[in-house]
């Protein structure tokens, strides 16, 4: 594997959260819009930072915060609207092979009403989670970093033993073309 000893990997403690989301797919689909609406701030922070940093190791805290927000929401949902959720999840599970929501709008309305009354969360309109959302994080975006790749490569090559069998049968990138029209 390409991960060396110098590559920093988080410890198991950093990678373990007290409680993961252990719901099955029909239940997740039933509660997803409310959960995502409730945890919108955590979601935006996590997804934005993950996209900016391009590194799963750097957003573990945000990810753990997101999961714990989801768990908290599910616990409050369990205390208030469990029967309605159960009904909707069963409907999603049993009314179509692809677990679509289209056959379950009646049950969904019941759950909507319950969650709005007890947790004051309104399910967003259809398409809300597919739109682009503008979010300003408190943390600044990382500066674009330009590296001297040739110097890096030369440094690595110099560290190799003198008698190392470097391949000599390579060709220049452009020479791999079979004719001039290939790019």
């Amino acid at each position: 594997m390409s991960l060396t000893r110098d590559t920093h990997l988080p410890t198991d403690e950093e990678l373990t959260v007290p409680q993961e989301l252990v719901l099955s797919t029909p239940w997740l689909k039933a509660v997803a819009p409310y959960m995502a609406k409730q945890c919108e701030k955590e979601i935006n922070e996590f997804m934005l930072r993950r996209k900016e940093l391009e590194d799963p190791r750097a957003v573990l805290k945000e990810g753990a915060a997101l999961t714990s927000c989801g768990v908290n929401f599910l616990q409050s949902l369990k205390r208030t609207c469990l029967p309605q959720t159960q009904k909707l999840a069963d409907c999603v599970d049993q009314s179509s092979a692809k677990l679509y929501m289209s056959k379950c709008h009646a049950d969904q309305k019941e759950l909507d009403a319950c969650i709005e009354a007890n947790l004051s969360i309104t399910r967003p309109k259809l398409g809300y989670f597919s739109k682009l959302h503008v979010y300003d994080s408190e943390k600044p975006a990382p500066a674009a970093k330009l590296r001297d790749y040739k110097a890096d490569a030369a440094k690595v090559l110099n560290e190799l033993p003198a008698d190392y069998h470097l391949r000599k049968d390579y060709r220049k990138y452009n020479d791999w073309r079979y004719n001039v029209t290939e790019s």
Binding site: T4, R5, L9, P10, A32, E42, S102, F129, R147
Partner: protein, 171 residues
């Protein structure tokens, strides 16, 4: 030889033959051409309308599902990141354990020659082949090429008919 007493001339029926219809005859006109053309155009228009409407319904149905999946994606991504990093750490530990007696071996490199020369501190996901290096080939086929499974992977009605050693090979 026949005699005149045995001979009898056939004659027309009483009242004569019925009048012969020597005019051109047409089949009875059930639907007028205008009605037929109107019906065809009407049926086509209705079919087109129904097809468009049902396509809209299908698209909406699918989009509803996509929207829910979008809402779910951050939660799944957070969980997947933790699982993925745990798996990679385990793989690296396995490699160190396996190759500890090989002189000159450096973990993550080919005897010191790195896979990526210019990666620096940037994160780069190892490829699936590397990650499954310590697994059975069948595990990679099952988990990486998961599409070869049927969509339904739950318990089947025939599960109790075969011993576990055989039924695990069924999809």
């Amino acid at each position: 030889m026949a005699t005149g007493a045995e001979f009898k001339q056939d004659m027309p029926p009483k009242g004569g033959y019925r009048a012969f219809n020597f005019h051109r005859t047409f089949p009875k006109l059930v639907w007028s051409p205008g009605a037929v053309v109107a019906a065809i155009f009407g049926a086509t228009a209705y079919g087109v309308y129904t097809a468009i409407e049902s396509k809209k319904t299908d698209i909406t149905e699918k989009f509803e599902d996509v929207d829910i999946n979008n809402a779910l994606e951050p939660f799944l991504t957070a969980e997947r990141d933790r699982y993925w990093l745990k798996l990679l750490a385990k793989n690296r530990a396995l490699e160190e354990e396996i190759m500890k007696d090989v002189p000159g071996w450096k973990t993550g490199t080919w005897y010191g020659e790195p896979v990526y020369f210019t990666l620096g501190e940037k994160w780069w996901d190892p490829s699936a082949t590397e990650v499954y290096a310590h697994s059975w080939g069948s595990v990679e086929a099952r988990e990486h090429l998961w599409r070869q499974h049927s969509e339904y992977a739950g318990p089947k009605f025939y599960d109790n008919w075969f011993p576990q050693s055989i039924s695990k090979w069924f999809w």
